[in-house]
Symmetry: C2
Subunit: 248 residues, 2 copies
């Protein structure tokens, strides 16, 4: 970070960003690899995060920190939760790292976490500042992370899943024309569980959220599926009417 | 607060508690009346909240602060959100109050909000510390509050309503035996909108969440209604199966 901003740091508050990425198969998460090349240890992976400045609000801080560490911008970040347990920075392997990047490594820091869900193919994260390497990892394979970042990830995952029940999200991650199988896979990836295909299609049809196009897949080895598009008009109508029951 | 804890204050972080109360008619909220007796000004009402100590985590701080200001304890507080806008303590009427209760009134403070929903009749708040008077006010009648507490209230209300869609809550606010009208009124009070009576009863029946008792109201001026009780067993079963679609 720029040296002239050191006096402006709020040493008591940080932000951490949980960036979920969908690659049309799995839900992944963007992590800083703290010791590139070393033997794979889950505790060496951390969320992009840093102290806030005193002259920015929390949303601004989250956007700035994400951009500084990963180059990502224009991503809608939703606040997830605050974490303030007393031992969150006390693990031995985190202490050394904190001492290398912080002026006051011993100060208690409370973090506010944010999350987002993006199409992996549409973004190209580039490590900078103290992030030497960035990696996408499948969420389902993560067993632990640096600091309390595993708790932060799990809370964000809960929030993302609950959000999906109240408002359909993720349509913007699919191509404009998509098959019902792709949509089904997106929902399964986010919810982390299998969804009965017939129930899923029935509910989508009932809500009138997708429109069947007069166009099929081409050059696929299986029976070609029909393409659909998102019914933006009806979605707006449902939301305006206060409909909020999109769970499966 | 005890004088010997002054050095232990974290001047950068506070907690604020949004305590919703149900009185079998309306959803209310517990507020500190800062200037009892003065002309009714919405900006004179504040949420119970204070700075955290450096040796407690956020949940502990919320429970301690609530107890110190209102006497309430053993209430399940759920974290709601973090608020950190730069102008949240800059209103003239709040400055004077801050100067009277804080050692460093100019320091930027980020607050973590918590909320709970209680049966008003089961709790008897008693003002203490810097809370000179406490009042319950109907949520629907509140147009503004001190600091950014109106935003904090609205965010907590959103969270409470979203929670209701994912898990049925509030059964513990009703008597053990209740009528479907009482349950219907509870849901309407929380959601802040009318719910079609027949749809409501149909969904409750479909989910098997209530059990009809062989007992009716007595001594009521209208046709006596049947009593019901909560079907704890089936509720547990639904939750274990991952059912999370309780919206109306």
């Amino acid at each position: 970070m720029p040296a002239n901003n050191q006096n402006n740091l709020n040493n008591g508050i940080s932000v951490d960003c949980v960036i979920f990425g969908f690659d049309f198969e799995k839900l992944q998460i963007l992590l800083i690899e703290r010791e590139p090349g070393k033997k794979d240890n889950p505790l060496d992976y951390a969320l992009p995060g840093d102290l806030i400045y005193n002259d920015e609000n929390l949303d601004q801080a989250a956007n700035r920190v994400l951009k500084e560490l990963t180059g990502l911008e224009n991503i809608y970040l939703e606040q997830s939760a605050a974490f303030g347990s007393l031992d969150r920075t006390q693990r031995e392997s985190d202490r050394a790292w904190l001492e290398s990047v912080r002026d006051q490594p011993d100060l208690r820091v409370i973090t506010i976490s944010y999350y987002s869900l993006v199409n992996i193919n549409a973004f190209d994260p580039k490590p900078s500042s103290f992030a030497s390497k960035l990696v996408w990892k499948p969420v389902a394979e993560i067993e632990d992370l640096a600091f309390d970042h595993f708790d932060i990830l799990n809370q964000a995952l809960d929030n993302l899943r609950n959000r999906l029940k109240i408002r359909p999200i993720g349509f913007n991650l699919l191509p404009e024309k998509f098959t019902l199988s792709q949509l089904h896979k997106l929902y399964e990836a986010i919810l982390g569980r299998e969804l009965d295909k017939r129930n899923f299609r029935r509910k989508m049809a009932k809500l009138d959220l997708v429109v069947r196009l007069d166009e099929k897949q081409q050059g696929v080895p299986h029976k070609p599926s029909n393409f659909y598009k998102f019914n933006t008009e009806n979605y707006q109508k449902l939301i305006e009417e206060g409909y909020d029951n999109f769970g499966f």
